[in-house]
């Protein structure tokens, strides 16, 4: 255990002092010992004020918690200390505490972000920190929201369907793909499903009614990932256009800005998807194919992809490319 009480995570909590642990130094404790007080430890002398939304679907309000400041903490650490010492029933989701699972999304001082990756020392010193649940999803309790919408959208995306292996690949035991070709989709596969991009997307943030016919940035990125996957043969363009509301996106790039994985959702996923969808929708060969076969085919898609690009001119911001009217507001 720590020999240096000022660096012990909970040492400053009076609640802890009431029940001191039985501490016996052992050989194994060497690594856990902090040999020198942290030079930044002096900052631990201050207090921090957390203003956290408490409530459920029936309503609620902000509650204020004051506790000692500690060095090097992220917002989630402070929420945990509120839970452990003042409000054990304060609901929040979290898992990894390292920005890898995407569970602890919330709106911190009005700005959507991951609580585990928001350092307290990046927030204005001496001012209260306000934490609210994500606005776009219905509240379950406190900071926990019902994100089932996202899981429902995920179910409706036609799955990965690989091409058959070539004779060479059968012999080699696996598909051959060049690194440069997998990297496009790999960018989207970095997604940790924190749903912050969904949270900030104006199409659903301000228009609940759009949720029934809009997949949202997370799932545009998922579709882009599949469409750009070197092995995939499924075609999702009609679905994107007609049921997932790709045209509703007017590329304000809020999703890209909020993404903790720094995925360029707008530039690398949504805009290329809009181009492909437009190509498919207005390509005469594809149109004829649909007329004859009453479905889209991979060959039509490939034909569209190899035809001269219509270019970005076809997807000017705000243009309802899908034929579905864009939402009002933004």
């Amino acid at each position: 255990m720590d020999d240096e009480p000022t660096t012990e995570p909970q040492a400053a909590e009076p609640e802890d002092a009431a029940a001191p642990p039985a501490e016996t130094p052992s050989a194994g404790a060497a690594v856990q010992a902090a040999p020198a007080p942290d030079p930044h430890g002096a900052a631990g002398a201050g207090r921090v004020t957390m203003v956290i939304w408490r409530g459920d679907e029936g309503g609620g309000d902000f509650a204020t918690y004051e506790l000692p400041a500690q060095d090097g903490e992220v917002v989630l650490d402070v929420v945990h200390r509120v839970q452990a010492t003042q409000a054990p029933d304060l609901a929040c989701r979290w898992n990894c505490k390292a920005g890898k699972c995407g569970s602890c999304s919330a709106e911190i001082n009005g700005k959507p972000g991951l609580m585990c990756m928001t350092r307290m020392d990046t927030l204005p010193p001496g001012e209260p920190v306000t934490i609210a649940p994500m606005k776009t999803f219905p509240v379950i309790r406190d900071l926990v929201t019902d994100v089932s919408y996202n899981y429902e959208v995920a179910k409706r995306i036609p799955p990965f369907q690989p091409r058959p292996k070539t004779a060479d690949e059968e012999a080699a035991g696996g598909y051959r793909m060049a690194q440069i070709d997998v990297e496009r989709s790999q960018e989207f596969r970095k997604c940790i499903e924190c749903f912050l991009c969904q949270d900030v997307c104006h199409v659903i943030r301000d228009h609940e009614e759009n949720k029934t016919a809009f997949a949202g940035p997370r799932f545009f990125a998922r579709s882009a990932e599949l469409e750009m996957h070197p092995l995939d043969t499924n075609d999702r363009r009609e679905l994107l256009r007609q049921e997932q509301g790709l045209g509703k996106c007017n590329i304000t790039k809020c999703c890209t800005e909020v993404c903790p994985e720094h995925i360029k959702i707008t530039d690398n996923a949504i805009i290329p998807l809009k181009e492909r969808v437009v190509d498919a929708a207005f390509d005469p060969v594809a149109w004829l194919g649909r007329k004859i076969l009453n479905r889209t085919t991979r060959s039509a898609r490939e034909a569209a992809a190899s035809s001269p690009a219509h270019g970005p001119a076809a997807v000017q911001p705000g243009t309802p490319v899908s034929g579905v009217p864009a939402p009002g507001g933004d």
């Binding site: 050989a27 060497a30 856990q32 994100v147 997998v182 092995l231």
Partner: protein, 611 residues
């Protein structure tokens, strides 16, 4: 039966990490009505934290690699305490399981000729880890999640399972738990149950594990009468973050060392050269010059000592810090900045770059990281049949970290993700076979359902009791200081006494608020598993009077050849009051040595050929 939500399936899988998802995919593929239950949202399980890669002797980088070499590396890494048959199946089947992930959409990094690229890791003779940068676990869980969803799997998210249910003959036939968002109880009946609940790290203060790793599966199996083996074998990963304190324990992937990172003490010395054990001396470089040649060409020099198995590296770091040569915050330095270009580091280790930049304010392309051991993985677990993953009570199967035997006393990096997909599939197959052979309606003991609910709601009804968080913190401190990386008999005995006292405190906690999404209540219902597991680890550690792999006894500092031939088995003889804290059956756990399965001669011969 209490009036609660009930469901009936053929196969019930508890846990939605890599093993649970892979088991579910298998059971679904065989036409079984399958349910997957998980404590968090789907896709958030601890598997996402696995960084470095998945070990499989595909031979894409070194054609010399094959399953025999992987098998030998795994057994030697585990100090020969492994279940040989599990290690064999794992080495033989993992290449196919990795290729299968690719057929389901995974996009691994590529070799020059377009095949799956493989990287070096500690204890693996050849570059063997298929990977995606340093986010391989995320790639695997997402691939399996998307496959399972596409196949129409029924998923019950944010359900905490309290205990397993048995029928009148003692066959495991379901489970009971509650939905965390509403607090409403739910029970499942099933012809077979697969445990894939992961690890136990939340009983320690500094751990790489998420809050979910409370050992629910280990504890529920024990309560239901199943055997656990070698619970004393807990892996402390050598490189966790040590600063800031709030992120202490968060993992720094071994891939940093595989890609050229070296460990230095406060004198700047590359100290791992001072800690090369005789077992690995023949294949480990003894000078920096030789070690540095190896990264580019494994035939030009022997392996750098930074890539010794994790137990060796963790103990060495511990010794350096103890000798006063540690870093300012009580770790040592992990330096890749001076050895690779900034561009290389950012490309090969993007998550690590961001993790340090954003959490510690450290630019790993310019400065060394401070790292130290963190509680990471339990090798011990539910005793299973290697081929079917069947536990020792009928109807119960276990795969992944909750199962014991595969990794012996120490797991090699990269062997966990491969374990999940190899034995996740086998658990699905084993459960399907058992379920297909089961006739008649599945019934559970309704008294067990009622007892589980009664025990769970008690903290909500009790007033004036202690805060469950305080009990948890004291348990973490006890396990960290008394059942940590280096152990002694007297401290372990002291730990047992402390755990007993904590059990009494846990039995008297009270929580305010309602049942809907109440973390305090959730914590109160996690305490029984954490305490049962902690007791099992301490008891196993008392009985294994030797040092082997992840289990190090200061008072018995060397391996004992006789103890290397046995598993320490723990079971509750009459599991009649499952998981109710403070009741005798939870306390009375028998611990006895039982001989390891004997390796056939043709496999034993592999160790004689090895140098």
């Amino acid at each position: 039966m209490p009036d609660i939500e009930t469901h009936d399936f053929d196969i019930l899988i508890i846990g939605a990490g890599g093993a649970g998802l892979r088991a579910a995919v298998e059971a679904q593929a065989q036409g079984m009505r399958t349910a997957l239950v998980c404590k968090s949202l789907l896709g958030k399980a601890h598997t996402v934290m696995a960084e470095g890669g998945v070990a499989a002797a595909m031979g894409n980088v070194y054609s010399e690699d094959n399953w025999q070499v992987h098998f030998r590396d795994t057994m030697r890494g585990g100090k020969m305490l492994n279940n040989w048959r599990m290690a064999q199946l794992h080495a033989q089947e993992s290449p196919d399981r990795v290729r299968e992930l690719e057929e389901w959409g995974a996009l691994f990094d590529r070799t020059e000729d377009g095949l799956i690229l493989q990287r070096d890791f500690g204890g693996h003779r050849y570059a063997r880890l298929a990977h995606v940068g340093d986010r391989t676990g995320l790639e695997i869980i997402r691939t399996l999640q998307q496959k399972a969803v596409a196949d129409g799997l029924e998923v019950f998210m944010e359900v905490k399972v309290l205990r397993l249910l048995r029928d009148a003959d003692g066959v495991v036939s379901g489970a009971v738990g509650y939905r965390r968002p509403t607090g409403e109880f739910v029970s499942f009946t099933a012809k077979a149950v697969v445990l894939a609940t992961g690890g136990v790290g939340k009983s320690w203060l500094y751990t790489s594990n998420s809050w979910e790793s409370t050992g629910d599966g280990h504890a529920m199996a024990l309560w239901a009468g199943a055997d656990l083996i070698d619970m004393e074998c807990v892996q402390f990963h050598p490189t966790g973050m040590v600063w800031p304190l709030s992120v202490r324990g968060i993992l720094v992937t071994e891939g940093v060392r595989g890609d050229g990172g070296v460990l230095r003490n406060s004198d700047g010395r590359r100290f791992m050269f001072d800690y090369i054990p005789p077992m690995f001396a023949a294949e480990t470089a003894d000078s920096e010059e030789e070690a540095d040649k190896w990264y580019d060409d494994h035939t030009a020099g022997r392996r750098p000592p930074e890539l010794l198995p994790r137990d060796e590296v963790a103990r060495s770091i511990n010794s350096e810090v103890k000798a006063g040569r540690g870093s300012p915050h009580g770790g040592v330095f992990l330096d890749i900045a001076s050895r690779r270009t900034a561009e290389d580091i950012r490309r090969r280790l993007p998550s690590m770059y961001h993790q340090f930049k954003e959490l510690a304010g450290v630019d790993i392309t310019a400065e060394p990281m401070e790292v130290g051991p963190t509680c990471h993985y339990i090798m011990g677990g539910v005793r299973v049949d290697a081929d079917s993953t069947a536990a020792t009570v009928p109807g119960l199967f276990a795969a992944g970290e909750v199962a014991g035997g595969m990794h012996g006393s120490n797991r090699l990096g990269g062997n966990s993700l491969s374990d999940l997909i190899v034995f996740g599939r086998r658990a699905g197959m084993g459960a399907v076979e058992f379920a297909a052979g089961r006739t008649g309606a599945v019934r559970v003991d309704e008294g067990e359902v009622a007892a589980a609910i009664e025990a769970a709601v008690a903290p909500l009804q009790r007033e004036g009791g202690e805060n469950p968080y305080t009990v948890h913190q004291d348990l973490q401190r006890t396990m960290q200081s008394l059942v940590g990386i280096i152990r002694t008999g007297t401290e372990l005995e002291e730990a047992l006494g402390a755990i007993e006292a904590l059990e009494e405190r846990a039995a008297a906690v009270s929580v305010g608020g309602g049942i809907a999404y109440n973390p305090g209540w959730n914590m109160a219902t996690d305490l029984p598993s954490m305490l049962t597991v902690s007791r099992a680890v301490a008891q196993g550690a008392i009985n294994r009077k030797e040092s082997r792999g992840g289990h190090t006894r200061d008072d018995f500092p060397t391996p004992d050849p006789e103890m290397g031939k046995v598993n320490f088995v723990q079971r509750i003889e009459r599991p009649d009051t499952q998981g109710v804290l403070g009741t005798p059956s939870v306390r009375t756990i028998t611990v006895g040595p039982e001989p390891l399965p004997v390796m056939p001669d043709e496999l034993a011969a592999l160790f004689e050929e090895a140098h």
